[in-house]
């Protein structure tokens, strides 16, 4: 068993880039992985956006990368752009013979090229249309309500990181150009490379990076809602979210396990046929993060399920699991966590995010071997009261 644990650690560890820029360009050489995944994270987002220009980060990211899509297509490379609260993520997946060219093309577009006005106008139209369609989605509505409840209405992270259709339509080409120059700078970026690459091959990327720690815009402390938030939504089902904010020094891996165990206790099953859907997520950003649990249930039962969600977490805070119980749960969690990282792009994303949030460039991608019943217990006990959000038609309340 010990040999297996050591083998797992070796397989999950990251080789630091042995040069001055090591904290900004991290390489995880993986002989045998068929492709290379490069993750570029730039610490720019809603906190950097002026009032009325919400979503300009995402629009800029799409506008500046749109002209390189044909080049990446010709290299059979794939690019994905995702906007997070604290950073914008660019993921390139390419074959071993084209990853350097594909990644360099992306970095030139981000840090050297000016914006293309035609591409910006086209992306603005497309983005606004997509956001308009999403605004009617209950999942998006819940995410917006949860963000506002967890961070506070006035907090930059309390609104959608991609902005709204209306705010994106207000952004002009000149705004995007100015934002690109001010916000998309190399001193805010980290790069993680995963795949069959020689660490020395990443040397070429150093020219794009500035030495020193990542520059990021400081944000105010969140101001979570101190009572349940209830949002009317025209639907036949209702959504319940329980969100537990945590600090920077929280035990993230133990919280991930806790999130899975807790949501398992309230998920669909023979004893809970009324639960339509359930979800658990742990998100991390500089200074802390959140453990989010969500359920889709009949509208009449939302209050009851909010209590059950809280009780599911409290169960693990009450008493540490016995060894046998913990082992069987850890066995399952270990597998699920491993499978989350099965693609090279998932590993590149996890690696880049860890560098951005903690500055750590070495160590295991997922700290599973040291998980104990006691750590799980401590992590559950350290959580405060959840922020509760309801979204739905609230049949009973309307009758009153």
């Amino acid at each position: 068993m010990r040999i297996r644990s050591i083998a797992a650690c070796i397989a999950l560890c990251v080789l630091p880039f042995p040069a001055a820029a090591q904290e900004r360009v991290v390489v995880r050489p993986e002989p045998g992985t068929p492709v290379v995944a490069a993750e570029v994270l730039i610490a720019v987002g809603p906190a950097d956006e002026a009032a009325g220009k919400e979503g300009i980060t995402y629009l800029t990211a799409r506008s500046v990368t749109a002209p390189i899509v044909p080049i990446l297509d010709s290299l059979t490379a794939q690019l994905t752009v995702v906007q997070h609260k604290d950073a914008v993520s660019f993921t390139v997946i390419a074959a071993p013979d084209t990853w350097e060219e594909a990644t360099r093309t992306l970095l030139v577009a981000l840090f050297r090229d000016p914006v293309d006005s035609l591409a910006t106008v086209r992306e603005r139209t497309a983005t606004a249309a997509e956001l308009e369609a999403r605004e009617a989605s209950p999942a998006d509505a819940l995410a917006r309500q949860v963000d506002a409840a967890v961070f506070g209405q006035a907090h930059p992270w309390g609104r959608a990181a991609v902005g709204t259709a209306a705010s994106v339509r207000r952004v002009r080409v000149a705004d995007v150009d100015a934002f690109l120059r001010a916000g998309f700078t190399a001193d805010r970026a980290v790069v993680a490379i995963v795949g069959p690459v020689d660490p020395e091959a990443a040397q070429a990327l150093r020219g794009f990076m500035d030495p020193g720690p990542v520059r990021r815009t400081e944000v105010d402390a969140p101001a979570p809602a101190d009572r349940p938030v209830r949002q009317q939504y025209n639907s036949i089902t209702a959504w319940v979210a329980a969100v537990y904010p945590f600090d920077a020094d929280a035990d993230e891996e133990a919280l991930r396990m806790l999130a899975r165990l807790a949501v398992e206790r309230v998920s669909f099953g023979p004893l809970r046929p009324q639960v339509y859907d359930s979800r658990a997520e742990v998100t991390r950003h500089a200074g802390g993060g959140q453990l989010r649990l969500e359920l889709v249930v009949p509208p009449r039962e939302v209050e009851d399920w909010a209590e059950r969600l809280s009780a599911a977490v409290a169960e693990y805070a009450g008493e540490a699991l016995g060894e046998a119980q913990f082992s069987s749960r850890l066995r399952r969690f270990r597998g699920e966590r491993m499978l989350e990282l099965e693609s090279p792009e998932a590993r590149a994303r996890a690696l880049a995010r860890r560098v951005l949030v903690t500055g750590r460039t070495t160590g295991a991608l997922a700290d599973l071997d040291g998980l104990t019943a006691e750590r799980l217990h401590r992590a559950a006990r350290a959580l405060g009261d959840p922020v509760i959000v309801f979204l739905g038609p609230f049949v009973e309340q309307r009758r009153e």
Binding site: A8, T98, R331, F333
Partner: protein, 398 residues
Amino acid sequence: MLNLAVAFAVAFAAPDTVPPAPAGAALAEPAIVVLRQPALPIVALRLSLLADDPPGYAGAGHLMQHLLLPRLEERVARVGGRVQAIRTSDAVVYTVVGPAAELDYLAETLRGVLRAPAAGTGELLAAAAAVAQERSAEREIAPQYVRAALRARLFPADLPAAGTDAAMARLNTARLDEVWAAMYRPERVSIVAVGDVEIAGVRRAFRDVPAAAGEGVAPLADTVRAFAADTPQATRGWFGRGWNAPGADPAALTVTARLLRNHLRRRMTRSAVDVEHWWTHHGQGLALVVATADSLVPVARRTVEGSLAGLRDNLDERLVRDAAASVRREMLFFARTPERMADVLGAFSDRGEEAGSAQRFYAAVARVTEDDVRAVLELLLAAQPAVVEVPAQRLNRR
């Protein structure tokens, strides 16, 4: 800088293999292929039974998958793993992915699918209903219908995975252990393992596969309902063309498919165009599927009719080189997780090809020349294509 040739070789490295024991040997064993990928301590185990359904019992393999899957999923979930069950034209395939440290447990669980399921009436009815839905879906929606109808024309012996109505009625009352006995032989089992495992461990994990279970059911006849009797749903005009290409070099045929797709997509920007290389133990061919607006159907049909000759007239070495590179990169992209890599390697072994054939195919694609593609095009131009067309449905005006 890492040598690129080395990088490719590493990605599609020749796996360790144990060939199957000869049929009829006293202790028949499955063929085992292992590709070690130490990047993450997980393993994908792909088990395939290389067998057609017994004559008269089309859909038997897939029905048993439906019966076995719930228990398989429940057991694999205990270690945080995932299961996939697919009936291909070549084999009954199960893939499990989970922690490499659970190799023995996952293998033991997988070995459970090598016995006939002991199903109650309720389970059997539920599974039969699920398979019946899949059978209907193949004929209800235009994209699936076009492909199924083309396949039936190109490879008549390749019956639908979901079987036929008559065969399913037989299966409802048949003894499943006898049906299974007609399909199962240990030497027909093929294992592909990709991940942080060694060949010795995989061999040990699969050393005890069940023995063959006798003769099985007597063969009967399968009757497939004519596709012309169906009216699939279509909001656009759909048409398919299929060419049998039994003698073509598979690598050249794959590159030709990519070239033909690129050629047509450049010329049919308002249509959806797919060109696929179909390759099973029943044979190989090229399938072209196009969907286009109702008003564009006549123009699109003309473009498709002249596509092979058009490609031949515009072909050059650079186009062939670019298409081959694109195919190779897409293979790598597709195979970027252990599960997908096991699928790629397994698809080759399921056709009864030798170990290392996926790697040889990958290398052969890079060597395809303009002359190779021209030879394939001449072969296709000389053949009579199978034709399937589905008109867009129109609402009746009152």
